[in-house]
């Protein structure tokens, strides 16, 4: 069993898991809740094994490095972070409906990594610029942050969906969603969590840049976009702390913020030129 097989299986498990969570939400089949969680955890284990295997394989090829070096590997890791974070959120809030809004992100990321013809899943050696201990710290911090923002975007969408619930029928589809106040609180807490990791990601990137190029900040498009993302979430936090913003506006910011994350992560590599070019292959 090699890593690409394991990761391929993971993609299917996540698809299955997304379907169960959606069924749980749409058809309100409470009984399959446990199944959804179990399938997701199995998926996460297979996924972890796949990443570990890929790491091992790179050593067997004599070019050993953490599997965080190109677009394919980062999409795989992005999905892994989302699932891990989602499982934790599910256990803390004891709410499985969030899965219907979070797991599709993980499935999407895996499917895009494996199906998109522009990314190769071949293990390639590390270019000199990436040969640093900062690689793991930088990618790890950034992606935990990105994953948190993905889940926050999911709960933000959930909030906007729930807004259409007029409360006239306790049996309506939307009545199964948690109360608005709870969704709002979850979104806010996940944004807080993501914000710390994004900050740590930007900082680790700055320290790395300084140790490799002699400058901790050079307004490279990737750096700049990560800062723009930081500003977006910072404004959400300020508006909430001091002006009591919540609900709809925070939900929208969680969506806009995630679009900025996607652009920082993905768009910059393809649409703008800069120092992070190795992320594009």
């Amino acid at each position: 069993m090699d890593s690409s097989k394991l990761l391929g299986i993971t993609t299917f498990i996540y698809m299955f898991s997304s379907v169960i969570y959606l069924a749980l939400f749409i058809f309100r089949i409470k009984k399959i809740g446990l199944l959804a969680t179990v399938v997701t955890i199995i998926g996460l284990l297979v996924h972890t094994a796949g990443i570990g295997m890929r790491w091992l394989e790179s050593y067997q090829m004599g070019i050993g490095h953490a599997p965080l070096s190109n677009m394919y590997e980062s999409l795989v890791f992005f999905a892994w972070s989302i699932v891990l974070l989602y499982i934790v959120v599910e256990f803390i809030y004891k709410n499985k409906v969030i899965g219907a809004f979070a797991m599709p992100f993980a499935f999407g990321s895996m499917a895009y990594a494996s199906l998109s013809p522009e990314f190769s899943d071949r293990i390639t050696p590390l270019v000199p610029a990436l040969q640093s201990n900062w690689l793991i710290a930088h990618v790890f911090t950034c992606f935990i942050g990105y994953a948190a923002f993905a889940v926050a975007c999911g709960t933000g969408i959930m909030y906007l969906v729930k807004l259409r619930d007029k409360g006239d029928s306790p049996n309506s589809l939307l009545a199964t969603l948690p109360p608005l106040k709870v969704i709002d609180d979850i979104t806010h807490k996940i944004i807080l969590f993501g914000f710390i990791w994004l900050t740590a990601g930007i900082i680790s990137g700055a320290v790395w840049a300084n140790s490799a190029w002699g400058t901790y900040w050079s307004w490279d498009p990737k750096e700049t976009w990560s800062l723009i993302t930081w500003f977006i979430y910072a404004s959400a936090l300020h508006a909430r702390f001091t002006r009591g913003w919540g609900g709809k506006r925070i939900a929208w910011i969680s969506i806009i913020g995630f679009l900025a994350v996607v652009f920082t992560y993905y768009g910059v590599n393809f649409l703008l030129s800069g120092l992070h070019s190795y992320g594009a292959s």
């Binding site: 710390i196 901790y216 700049t224 723009i228 910059v268």
Partner: protein, 448 residues
Amino acid sequence: MKKGKNSFWSFFASVKLALFCFFTLAIASIVGTIIPQKESPGVYIQKYGETTAEIFRLLNIPDMYNSWWFVSLLALFSINLIVCSIDRLPTVWKMVTMDNLATKVDRLEKMTPRSRFASSKPVQEVVAEVKHTLGGAGWKPSQRESENGTLLFAQKTPWVRFGVYIVHLSILVIFAGAIIGSLFGENGSIMVREKAIFSNYFDRYTSERVPLGFEIRVDDFALTYYDTGTPKEFKSDLTVIEGGQEVLRKSIVVNDPLDYKGYTFYQASYQAQDDYWISVQNQNTGERKMLMARPGVELKWQEAGITLGIINLLQPDRWGRYRLKIWFSDGKGEPSVFWLDGDTVVSVERPDTAYAFKSEQVFSTGLQVAKDPGVWPVYIGFIIMLCGLVVAFFLSHKRVWVYIDETGNKTRVLVAGSANKNRVAFENIFDALVEKLEENETLKLSKE
């Protein structure tokens, strides 16, 4: 001057201004990621036309992150941070240092969470036992008697209320570091050929020669490849020379620079030269000489009476492999002509002795030179920021009051608590504490 009434002050202290700064900084930053930065004027004219290029020039768009208006925005942001922090700190200070034992009992009666109990034990005994239980749970209570009863108060981490301001401070520390860097920092680069010594570099902005105050010799540059043909490592062996003495040697690679006297030398680029190093060693005497040979140019090792040259070559491929055809004469007998491959030793028999040949392509190494005394403040700012965020987001100021008084022949106990954030988590802590009190055998509490 009363701050609260001054609209000028309250403008700079406002969150509205902070949101405005976030928004404009974000939007402005986008511009610089779309329009290429620091290109020559011609590039903008070619790409955007003359009129647009002129507008760009007037607005400093080609170097917008250093433009007067962008720097002013950052300055406005800093002023906002400072004024808002000064504006709010006194209130927070009061919250942190306030006398919580002065809290009125009727306020405690409205707090959530709270619990009420009664006990048959005398007040003094209950006070002592509650103090003991609180202490055992990590709360160190202080005590004050009033005419009607006894108030106990304990709190945890009141200073976390400063968390947000720690984060604000960290941003200012980072900005201070950046300003120090831009005032006293140096940045530039230099391209040096192997075996050469340099004592200057070229400034990044002015392109002027800047003296280092010491010398560095490039002993060697090595480029290695993976089997796939992609570069694996760029490495320069550097020796620092000061006052004619070799003081430091280090091999630098892309992620591992050389530090000396505040300067840092980074491996940034390289350039392959047309020349080749050829090492010739007399196998009998052991004498050895390194000669730099350019294809088609004759070289002499005078003392040994040797003449040699590269008369043909196969250019390096993508793994850096090449072949040289060498013409060699030591003045005895017919000259030798032979192929010499990169990274291999070739031995050539001559009438008197044998010679060992080795070659290596000559490279120039591109070094980035930086000196930034502002880096440490920036790093300290980073650490403060991360600590501040954790404090501001995840820690809370938790307070617990216990009021004990006597009505009739019963002792009444009122437990109340508050936290400035994460109230759900606090309620769990509070419930656990109350449970501990209830379980206390000596107290014999009963719910009221």
